[in-house]
Symmetry: C2
Subunit: 406 residues, 2 copies
Amino acid sequence: MTVLIASVPSGTVTSAKGFSAGGIFAGIKTPGVDKKDIGIIYSSAPCAVAGTFSQNTIISPTVTLDKARVETGNLVHAVVVNSGCANTAVGDQGMIDAKDMTKIAADHLGITEEQTLVSSTGVIGVEIPMALMREFIPQIEVTEDGGGEFAKAILTTDKRTKEIAVSFDVDGVTHTVGGVSKGSGMIHPNMATMLAYITTDANVETRFLKETLSGAVKLSFNQIDVDGDQSTNDTVLLLANGAAGGSVISGGDDASKAFTEAVLKVSQYLAIEIARDGEGATKLIEVTVNGAHSTDDALKASRSCAASLLVKTAVYGRDPNWGRIFMAVGKAEIPLDESKIDCYVNDIQIVHAGKAISYNIQSVVSALGGDQVRLRVDLNVGDGTGVAWGCDLTEEYVVFNSAYTT
Amino acid sequence: MTVLIASVPSGTVTSAKGFSAGGIFAGIKTPGVDKKDIGIIYSSAPCAVAGTFSQNTIISPTVTLDKARVETGNLVHAVVVNSGCANTAVGDQGMIDAKDMTKIAADHLGITEEQTLVSSTGVIGVEIPMALMREFIPQIEVTEDGGGEFAKAILTTDKRTKEIAVSFDVDGVTHTVGGVSKGSGMIHPNMATMLAYITTDANVETRFLKETLSGAVKLSFNQIDVDGDQSTNDTVLLLANGAAGGSVISGGDDASKAFTEAVLKVSQYLAIEIARDGEGATKLIEVTVNGAHSTDDALKASRSCAASLLVKTAVYGRDPNWGRIFMAVGKAEIPLDESKIDCYVNDIQIVHAGKAISYNIQSVVSALGGDQVRLRVDLNVGDGTGVAWGCDLTEEYVVFNSAYTT
């Protein structure tokens, strides 16, 4: 059985069967055209759920609550998310409000609070305006074409929404995986949080769902860098409600392979869009490291390179400054042999066997002028390959993040 | 016996007895008023030596050569340093040239090449112009008041030289510890390298010399951050020639304690000056973390905070944005209890027990307006204390590091 993965045109987080969503403007953020600040994803059928969360020691109580509810293995029906306020570092009130948000959403949807997850993104250290939650959450209408509304509701200072869906057929049953994310536009201080929600109507066994999400996150969200800082609220959730009517997917067969590939495709798209929309960014930087001793080495080296401020500023300045690439790969502290390294910018080779070769500088400068730059480092010591994505660092990043809020 | 440490007025790397130095302009860098690009530190008496070097996997052959020569435990007489060219990533020619530089300097000084160490700082991937080395190294005059000339010779795009000396008396014998460093002004790409040379006329046993340097580097050079990138050429050398005529210092007594304190004082001064002179910086940021479970935890958390781009831009923008401080301390992944954290900006408390307290915002904004900002985080879970130093991140950093070189 060959399973083909296809893009769903205008796909959203509600493209998978049985999912609906919606958003509303409650006034947590300053008003603006088409702005929303609370959103809900809902599935009438109960969902198996997997999640990955911020590794920061200081986390939002919303993350603590979601982690606990995901760990029980119980099925869930909904996620409620607000933007504009992170509900982080506000003492005991934070958990009270997080639980209360799930209770208000659950009452509205006719489910239990334990079947409801919650995220917040926005300013740290400010309490959630619960009066607004009580007033506006019950007004949110969830509909099958509400994915786009939800996508708007979770944005902070992102320039655009980030949505996708892909589908695959198994034994005549079409399965869909849809996703939505928001990234780190940090014009308003502390608005940096990476949130992503992936939905599927596949019938996925919980253990395999968790395994699939971990694998996909490792090769997508964990391989992007905007500014090296890690939010207290980062969350990726994968919900599976089985509404497609297919057989159970639990690993080891072609359907499982297709599901894994679909989730990876959605995750990478959403992750790359976050990097591309990085605060102040003008270019997406894709760094591929080939020929490392292991996949982990390659992932580490590519991410070190995508995260280096000197690489980011060199790309911004269209400077084929391969010394910085060497430095960034070297500081990943993986085994390598300097005399074997080849470097490429958009497939134009600039370094062979660890030394500069004579190349047409104009063609490289011109390649660096595009809005997507590919850097490739071949270590030539093994078979490990890894890719990471970052964005350039511009004056705008500094201006945005140093703007007075006082 | 009480030992007092005193500052040496206008102290330099030649303040310790028996050390001389000099510098010359050879034309490796573009010419400018009072510019120099090759320097030598020399001691007529042989020196015990300790060194700490870049942890980058890709390092300059000068670092490889120095490491090997320091590891033999043999005494040395001189260090020759050039700025403008890093002698890194140039294939086998790099080691040939590094050795050749020590040979040329050794012949000039009447010592052996094995008694000579070497550093380079500047552009990566370009071969050292050895013709200039052969012509100009023999013209360098080393004198007892040449410390300032050497300090100029190692600069790349630093705005100023960094020099200091302190002294302490033991049984009527005055011992001096002098030092010089250069930092990471990176206007010209890849010019980022941290070099520091510390000299002393104390008679220090080699094992204790190494122990002292490692201890001092941990609390100074390893606690500063300009942009998170790590040079391929970073080097700190400590040379002890015994010319003060004092007894052997080998640990465990008051003289050893005074020597340790003097080396730490010199190291911290030189490290802090590098952070203060960070590329594009307008402010020095000092971050103190108290009450951690251990010293290592406190050092890690303070450095994470000093290195965070969001903290750097908040300080630049005079924004008392403590949520970013929480995020940065939390991402250090040390054990802490959020509800016990207190935060201070220049001694003004802004967070108590993990929550914002009402403070006079104008006074904090005004404190952030100075050219030195002190952030303090009390974790209140133990006795560990650590300090780190960084600088703010400004538009100028981006402009400098993205300037076309092509």
